[in-house]
Assembly symmetry: C2
Homo-oligomer: 353 residues x 2
């Protein structure tokens, strides 16, 4: 590959991401990303890991999430602004880059608002596959915002869930979610209270957006034999579960250094016992040991390696040149030491054109 | 501004960056950026500051450099791969984003390989303006690579330097640099040794790329009454000056937490005295106090705030819609909670088109 080829970086726009999903199907996208995720979770120790770099303000947070497997480097820019919604803006938007460790040159630049929704859903499905009680068929979905449909379809396609029970403090969100899932083949039940939503559910997924310590689930609501994906509690001061639920649960996390700051376990002492999810996958640590007596909690906050997996998937998907266009992102002088001369020679190219 | 307007982000490509520079002129660009830099250095304490997040490999480094003034947030992706040059690739490439702290939405996405050269040169000029002996007319430029011409023009336009003495271990680099500066109005002298280059120079700028502890300048070469811009030593294990020179100098830095790890002062004890450059500008600390007896050393490693200043300048330059095009980077559903529905409705748009 010549330098000039490397200077043009494939870019996946929002529109191209949507068209890719429409061509392949949302469920297939999620199922494929889940296999990339599992591959990367199984080689977790070799990644260069660091807690995300967060810039907090009164209104929200902007984060950079880098990681590397030694061959490729990836990072995501992502914001979280709960107050955006009332202004008609997304709470979470994201974009990211995959790059070559060998040259430092970018390999792919992509929208990641939609891709993050896919990878977050795929991560819940991956955790659920390893942790839910056998034969689980029903999920309660608490919080019916931008993530909800993706979570439901992920658990359908990866874990065989056939029934979803929806609750949101805003009934309009539940209506929207039920409408979007109408043709999915799942049985969709709109519920008026969280208590109603969790009736008969072996899996409970919480995904709410308020930047505060909330109690989406209180202790007396949750019985044993349940798996919880706690997705919405993902920054300091933002939790969803009563600490007594956390206390009764076996807790599984992505990257402890980050989860202890951002996850549900920020409510717990520093040495509160947790298991790293990758260790369950490699068989180093037990996952669920009892279908009836145990509560498993995946305290998901989202980690850079998951974005890396998603970017790897996307790069492979667009390697044929479809669903992307080339961006003139990297300066590429014929003589790499002659950046100045390159700018000057552009004048000649402009005159010639 | 509607959500849809916010979803399209202005992008400054390499070509547009070159055309902007050609229209305005390199010197004017640097002079303008220098004023943005000075503005931000003067309000240094209010910035959200963190050392850059570096991912080191055997071949190089990939870094993310974020900062925020509370109103806007900026970050740069930048690599440093000295071995790239022999493969015809750039040692340093970069791109970056300016975003709104209030919404987390990006405001500008830009190539920064060329922009970094401009801001690095402007930063040297800013430091030199405050620290060089009065009446300085001659700069020795040690290292005639991709940065060299920008450094020379910056010191011409901001500091009134009229003569530049060039040295590089590779005479071809010196030839290239001399050729590019031929029409600049500066007197350009090609030198065969570093000793020759620094003859009669009141300012010495070192900008070499080897990722190792080198001795571009040895102690006996440097007399008093000189200002040094040490630009090339910018990561752990990469320095340019003999420690005895550093010992004899009054050292000025951008962000001590980063410079003690990455700069020339990584050779010195933890408590080696330094002055923060911004404090010289605000008058809190003295800069040069003696034109004849003192060596001042600007131990420049590059800091995120400088990229922030450069991105602010670029945003203002392209605010009229010229030299950029709009990128479909942020997903923008009509109902922010209906990301899933947005993807589905793209199918209808595709059918309608």
């Amino acid at each position: 590959m010549s330098a000039s080829d490397l200077a043009l970086i494939p870019f996946v726009s929002v529109q191209n991401m949507m068209r890719l999903i429409l061509e392949i199907g949302t469920e297939t996208c999620i199922a494929e990303i889940e296999t990339y995720l599992e591959e990367d979770f199984r080689r977790w120790p070799l990644f260069d890991k660091t807690p995300r770099v967060a810039s907090h303000s009164h209104e929200g947070v902007i984060e950079l999430m880098p990681t590397s497997d030694g061959i490729e480097y990836g990072f995501k820019y992502v914001n979280g602004h709960p107050k955006n919604m009332k202004d008609g803006l997304q709470t979470v938007t994201a974009f990211g880059v995959l790059a070559s460790v060998d040259t430092g040159y970018p390999l792919l630049f992509a929208e990641m608002t939609i891709l993050t929704a896919l990878r977050t859903a795929a991560t819940s499905a991956l955790a659920t596959k390893y942790l839910a009680p056998k034969g689980a068929t029903t999920m309660a979905m608490i919080g019916n915002g931008a993530q909800a449909e993706f979570q439901a379809l992920a658990l359908k396609t990866v874990c065989g869930i056939s029934k979803v029970r929806l609750f949101d403090v805003d009934p309009k969100a539940t209506e929207k979610c039920a409408r979007n899932l109408a043709g999915s083949g799942m049985t969709v039940i709109k519920c008026a209270t969280p208590e109603e939503a969790i009736l008969g559910a072996q899996i409970i997924t919480t995904c709410t957006a308020d930047k505060k310590n909330a109690t989406v689930l209180s202790d007396n609501m949750v019985g044993a034999g349940v798996h919880i994906n706690g997705i919405g509690g993902d920054c300091p001061g933002k939790t969803e579960l009563h600490r007594d639920i956390v206390m009764r649960s076996d807790v599984f996390v992505e990257y402890p250094e980050q989860t202890r700051i951002e996850g549900e376990i920020q409510q717990m002492p520093e040495d509160f016992p947790i298991t790293e999810l990758w260790q369950v996958m490699t068989g180093e640590k037990p996952g669920r040991t009892d279908d009836a007596q145990q509560i498993t909690l995946f305290d998901g906050v989202g980690f850079a390696i998951e974005d890396f997996s998603a970017l790897r998937w996307l790069r492979d998907k667009v390697s044929n040149g479809r669903f992307c266009h080339m961006l003139d992102m990297v300066a590429d002088p014929d003589d790499p030491r002659d950046l100045f001369g390159m700018v000057q020679r552009e004048r000649e190219r402009m005159s010639a054109a």
